[in-house]
Symmetry: C2
């Protein structure tokens, strides 16, 4: 859909931005310091950094930059990629997640977002083509049930370490368009099933409108997540059509697509969520816009389509 109307300039938006957070993926070309300064200029109170931008300056320095600007950290993106069926790769993945947990604790956030990874068939060295086993067998590289079981097992392995650092593993269901290659957690209900054996302060979930807006069971699962006190974050961006050639980059500003933000935001509010609302947009045209303009649009759309229902 075409953007609707004129966007106001940063700082002129009439509305309370105290729960609006900039996920740094939205301003992809900004360094951490630029993103922090931009968020502060726009009147935001928090930021959700990605690990690459944190690691560029080092975790301790990143924490100082954010604190000096008077911002909170809404979450750290991201851990995960736990689906491999190779034991050596699994140990490397667990080690990397332990590093991410330490980074989250150092940054002063308890919410570590987890994108759990896709099928082994989609991450094979040399490309996706994998031979099938002998006729009649289930192919381990395409065995979605087994990949999902490994995720649950490895969350169990990480949970004590996360708990020891005061960090929550925040499972992110991704849109089923990404089930093969990025995340075998495809619904909020499934994420909650995996979280259920663990305390709410150790394993949570994030509700990202882009990924879950289509789910016929969404209202019920958001209520379930709220009752269990597992909603660790609410991320907003829009489902736009036509899809970009890389569907990962096919997200739009709130209001540019098909998501019913009024209804979903009310469900999240009614579930008792009082935390930050992150805007995380992967989109080449958003990325090519000046960062301050992106933040102004973010704020204006948030005030118009999200805040009245929050």
């Amino acid at each position: 859909m075409a953007p609707e109307g004129q966007d106001v300039r940063a700082g002129t938006v009439p509305g309370d931005l105290s729960r609006l957070s900039l996920n740094t993926a939205t301003t992809k070309h900004w360094t951490l310091r630029e993103a922090v300064d931009g968020a502060a200029r726009a009147g935001l109170s928090s930021i959700g950094p990605w690990r690459d931008r944190v690691q560029e300056v080092g975790t301790v320095e990143a924490a100082r930059i954010i604190e000096d600007a008077g911002l909170r950290v809404s979450s750290l993106c991201r851990g995960g990629f736990l689906t491999t069926d190779d034991d050596v790769a699994a140990q490397a993945a667990l080690d990397d997640n332990r590093r991410a947990i330490v980074e989250a604790a150092t940054l002063g956030t308890r919410e570590l977002v987890m994108v759990v990874g896709g099928l082994p068939a989609a991450s094979a060295p040399g490309g996706p083509a994998l031979p099938y086993p002998a006729r009649g067998d289930v192919d381990p590289a395409r065995d979605l049930v087994a990949a999902r079981r490994r995720v649950a097992d490895r969350i169990g392995e990480l949970a004590p370490f996360a708990a020891g650092h005061g960090v929550r593993l925040v499972l992110e269901p991704l849109h089923p368009i990404f089930a093969a290659d990025r995340a075998v957690i495809s619904t909020l209900g499934q994420a909650l099933d995996i979280a259920e054996p663990f305390p709410a302060e150790v394993v949570g979930v994030v509700v990202d409108t882009y990924h879950v807006w289509w789910d016929p069971d969404l209202q019920r699962q958001i209520a379930r997540a709220g009752a269990a006190r597992r909603i660790a974050g609410y991320q907003v961006c829009d489902w736009i059509l036509p899809l970009a050639s890389d569907p990962l980059l096919s997200r739009g500003h709130v209001g540019d697509g098909y998501v019913d933000f009024a209804t979903i935001t009310r469900w999240v509010r009614d579930a008792g969520y009082t935390g930050d609302v992150e805007v995380e947009i992967f989109n080449e045209s958003v990325w090519s816009a000046p960062g301050d303009q992106t933040l102004a649009t973010m704020a204006e759309r948030y005030v118009r389509h999200v805040l009245p229902h929050l």
Copy 2:
């Protein structure tokens, strides 16, 4: 993924093809007669025609062509598109579905596949851009909950007419990638919820691997569908990556992508399904191949990846 290995020539496949059906969308450029002749040459026993190819020759003549070739009709594609919030358009949609019901009965199939339609926002005249209502309201054109309710209501309006003609309305859950613009039924569980108030011989469901392979609740919902005797069809094709620029055309031959056909086929078998297995592929490169070659590949892949588990 790359096609794997050499495909055998039509007629030389060692395997029982008595349950394999050609959905005519797979051989898009063939007329109904060409598709019927091709299916018969390849040793198939049934065909699943689309309405456009049936209407080209007229329904009575189409029925004769198929019967003369000794084939069964596995299903008719398709009715649906019932989500409009405009009363006049809704009456036109219901009328068209009544015509489709008569066509199915005339062709001698009881299974009419229903693709129920997307959000009003995605089918607005003049393109998808629609203004939002005043701040704070839910936008009717993006109201997914209401669109889904209209589908259930209109299935209820059509059910007596379908029952009177011995035809079953077969609800097709489409992959959530199509929730905005093609089908607000996104999961098998949701389709079964809509079907539940009606007798199993009047409202059923179809399991299409492309649309449902990712669903964490799939095993349970297939079993539920089987127990209720509502499985009206099983369609197979593969989820390939990268997606085609038009994701509607991003389907592959069985074995070229990520779907675990062994596991899903066993679930369908264990649910008691004994009907036809349609191959329905929308893909420009499949469409540009000679039809006989497409049928040979279809048969070879079916024998290798589906039949052993059926």
